[in-house]
């Protein structure tokens, strides 16, 4: 049934030194729950990897394994040729290169939008407050939130909060951006403004991994698509190709439900 899991598509050059992010045989157990059952993945510069699949299939866990918010039970994660699952890795330093945006925004509610962006610039990257301010304002402007820099998250709509969250991650100048179902908590009329920002980001050449239920986005923006089903890569390939010619029954069933 699962044909593609063990034989990566031609665009995946397993073990290549040019991979920005590489996952190797990643398993994750939560207690007795086996969520990821051996996932391999390699991402090159400018890849936009879209991860789709039924809920509970391990999509978010996979994404969180990339920035080691979840530590894989088995397997390795490589970032720029470094094994970051090694306990000696300075994860704080690695994470400054991996931006992540969450479904529930997770802005700090006691800080203004601007402060949300500058706090890590000042405290982690040790920028001066002037530099941090300028860089933060640039990124807020980039997501169309320049005029709301002084607002607290509670005063912003979900879409605006999510755009600030994207700016917060971008301001760290990450080498890869992870998006964990970032539009799932939004009212339908607010989804567009967030997707628009992500489309522009992909156009700018950002390397991205996107867990999403937005099939339109997956098809139009993704350079590669991963169908994650019951903890395994059920199928992967070029998004349009997968949409028009799904190889497995599981993917056909999945498309039948979501499209």
């Amino acid at each position: 049934m699962i044909v593609a899991a063990e034989d990566p598509s031609p665009s995946v050059s397993r073990g290549s030194e040019t991979s920005l992010v590489r996952l190797e045989g990643v398993h994750k157990w939560f207690g007795n729950l086996h969520v990821l059952k051996g996932v391999d993945l390699a991402m090159q510069q400018r890849d936009v990897v879209v991860v789709i699949g039924p809920s509970g299939g391990g999509k978010s866990t996979l994404l969180r394994c990339v920035s080691l918010l979840e530590v894989p039970t088995l397997g390795k994660v490589w970032f720029e040729g470094r094994d970051i699952t090694d306990v000696r890795t300075d994860l704080n330093e690695v994470r400054t290169h991996i931006g992540i945006v969450f479904q529930s925004y997770n802005l700090f509610p006691h800080m203004t939008a601007l402060r949300n962006v500058t706090v890590a610039l000042e405290r982690v990257l040790k920028l001066s407050s002037d530099e941090a301010h300028d860089r933060a304002m640039d990124q807020l402007a980039r997501v169309g939130m320049g005029n709301k820099a002084g607002a607290h998250p509670g005063q912003l709509s979900g879409g605006q909060q999510q755009r600030v969250a994207i700016a917060r991650a971008l301001a760290m100048k990450p080498k890869v951006m992870l998006f964990d179902e970032v539009t799932s908590a939004l009212d339908p009329e607010l989804v567009g403004e967030v997707l628009e920002v992500m489309i522009r980001l992909a156009g700018d050449g950002m390397t991205m991994m996107v867990v999403t239920h937005e099939m339109g986005f997956a098809r139009e923006v993704g350079t590669r698509m991963l169908f994650l089903d019951e903890g395994r890569v059920g199928e992967q390939g070029e998004p349009r190709e997968m949409f028009y010619r799904p190889q497995t029954d599981r993917l056909r069933q999945f498309f039948a439900k979501v499209l």
Partner: protein, 382 residues
Amino acid sequence: MAVTEAPLFEPEVAPDVRGPTAPLPATIFALGIAALVVIAFGVLFSQVNYAFSDRAMTQYCIDQQVSPEDNGGIGVCNIIEALRDPVTTDALYLGMGLGALSLVLGASTYRRMDSRRKRDHAITGAVLGSQGILLAVAVLWFRSVSPGLFAKHFLNFADLHGYGGAFLRGIRNTLVLAFAGEMGGIVIGLVLGVLTLSERRAVRAPARIYINFFRGTPLIWQLVTGYFLLLFGFGLRMSAFTVAVIVFALNTGAYAAEVFRAGIQSLERGQYEAARSLGMSYVQAMRYAIVPQAVRRVIPPLMNEFVILIKDTALVFGLGLVESEFDIFTVAREGQAATFNATFFTVAAIAYLVVTLPLIRLVNAVEKRLRSGLVGIAGAGG
């Protein structure tokens, strides 16, 4: 939840839909109020009347063990004589009757009331009436036993002349003790609270032991043992007052730790993850993202701890404070020891209320403000 451009509160008032009342429920309501008013007026009228008229000791008072030689004996006699004055008696029985009437009428008719307001009036009247009955029964019961014995020990204010300054100093010292203890406790509690959340047992265990020990033993034992331990065990030279502050801080620290732990745990895990994903260390995530939010949530429970500590400072009375350091309770106890008049404790209770009631009101107001969610503490909707 959409944009918050709209005002938080609509100025328009919701319409009153409780409907009209009617003579019967209005009467029940009035009867209930009348029961309480009659009882209160009758008792207070007699008390004021006796207190401000020139009276001598009576045989009844002497039978009630109030002696003419007692300092303030006449005042005590007035109190118990006023209690059995016909005006008081009539008011008590009349009030009971009114209360019973409103209770019976209200309880038997409220189901049939056809508007919300009628029903409210009938029920409220019955409730007030039953409160009147209880109040009257309590007063009748009290005066039928030995009111003189109680009054001469707890309501004889004559011996308190000259103690005003001492009680004011007591209030100040009580507040200093409690405030210093609370501040120390908050610092200790914040550290311990964070430690209890560690994923390492070696870090958690000592904090847990400390907290369980201080929560599990009596504060008075901690004070006495702490006194001897610090002064003789560790040979420190410090006053009993300082010892008390230290023990209060250690004790409050255990309770504050639980408050901080709960406050931090009540935050969404995503807040911590967001901070870590920006490259912050554990300590930075705590300092910039978690603790500032937790602090807001723990303010009301910590203020409650402060109110509790104000009352617990009474336990220092056995530590041998010097006179300028006396807290409210010690002032009262010294006064009582000198005069064998427990009215000092009655005044002490009033002094505690003077301090605690405004604080209790403040806590409630702060809680309400935080709950109304001013600057989106909960995060946000979407």
